[in-house]
Amino acid sequence: MDIIELIVSGDVRTIARILRDIDDEIPSARDILRELYPHTGNAFVVGFTGSPGVGKSALVDQIAIKYRKEEKTVGILAVDPTSPFSGGAILGDRIRMQRHFLDPGVFIRSLATRGHFGGLSKSTNDMVNVLDAAGKDVILVETVGVGQDEVEIANSAHTTVLVTVPGMGDDIQAIKAGIMEIGNIFVVNKADREGSRKTVRELMNLIELSSRNRNNGDWDPQIVETEAIKGRGIDQLYEAIEKHKNHLRSAHTDKWREVLEKRARIQLIGAIRDEALKTILERIEGHGDSLDEMVQKVVDKESDPYTMVQQILDREFK
């Protein structure tokens, strides 16, 4: 079997390796992604985002159990931040997902943001495509959300679940600041704690307020209370996700197409940006110029970034 056949047939070792190559931006990975693309489009992608410690990994663990009961295969991408000091990372989301380690129907991959903003790693979308082509029915993407950056996950998931906990006033503030729009489902986890009902009411009010300018269309954002470590509320969360999926797919809306177009646009723009930048930098080197020298010129005020960009563009695209 060749690489593509191995991936499409679900070969764990090959899938794991290609994900690594994508993450490391190895050029050959692009050839493989290209060949895999026709095999994509069957997976349903659910994003989980929220502040550190709210229980996203615990929720992903539980909802994965639920999907397995429904005989769906599951891919999990769990993104944690890279240390800005060393470039290293400790990826600990697996600790909460140990029960799935021996289940061949669940593939878990931990990712580091590697300096990319927005809570996602730069390669998350490509990795989703690999797991999709590999036949996973559901792909769960866990990202650390901090403020407005959570928007990014909403661009790559079909359903976005925003997770918070009782009494997180700051979280609610962040939600107010504009990310309310991206949540299709709101989870108040750790409902065993005091103030859960109050948080639900606050969320309801916020949803009400933002209902006029939100991109949810005629979808009513759902609020679900959960206690992830005990598996409480998981059935309700599952139902809410299914409901949103059916809403997107129902015949009388073109929502599904919109979601697909949004994802495709983001991926295309990302690919253009990456490739264009890479090509241009290579050509700069090819002309015997070096980026370092250009930087020196800018620092020494012999030139400026704007002139330099214009010169490069004039030379490369005349």
Binding site: G87, L91, I108
Partner: protein, 141 residues
């Protein structure tokens, strides 16, 4: 403009006893050395460790030893790596164990054993010098 390949390391603690302080300290040292550490916590069976190592495509498995779990779990981990065509994943161990076990562990293919009291810097330097990220997968057409 290519990123250098980043080393990925699974840090795990096989066996049933509870605490994983040592493993956490080593995980942090690896992070600070610029590696990506997949941390799975304690109570890991060899099967879980190998499955996680393969899914995460790590270059190295770092095992924390406490209370003699290594006499069973290390050979079993090596066996499972072989069964899964994953012998290219290196395995090292460190922690608290009888020194006379070292030759036997090396014999079954454990790359390095760090004795109790080994310096963190020695461990991270050994990894930097000895472990290379694997080669890329290419489309064989």
């Amino acid at each position: 403009m290519e990123n250098a390949r980043k080393l990925r390391i699974l840090v795990a603690k096989p066996g049933l006893d509870g605490h994983d302080r040592g493993a956490r300290v080593v995980a942090r040292a690896f992070r600070d050395a610029g590696f990506e550490v997949i941390y799975t916590g304690c109570h890991q069976t060899p099967e879980q460790i190998v499955s996680a190592a393969i899914q995460e495509d790590v270059d190295l498995i770092g095992l924390s030893i406490l209370s003699g779990a290594h006499t069973y779990s290390f050979p079993r981990i090596m066996e499972l790596l072989r069964e899964n065509d994953a012998e290219d994943i290196a395995v090292i161990g460190g922690g608290i164990f009888p020194l006379e076990d070292i030759p036997r562990l090396k014999e079954i293919g454990i790359k390095e054993i760090f004795e109790p009291g080994a310096k963190l810097q020695d461990i991270t330097e050994w990894v930097s010098n000895s472990i290379r990220p694997r080669r890329a997968v290419v489309l064989n057409r």
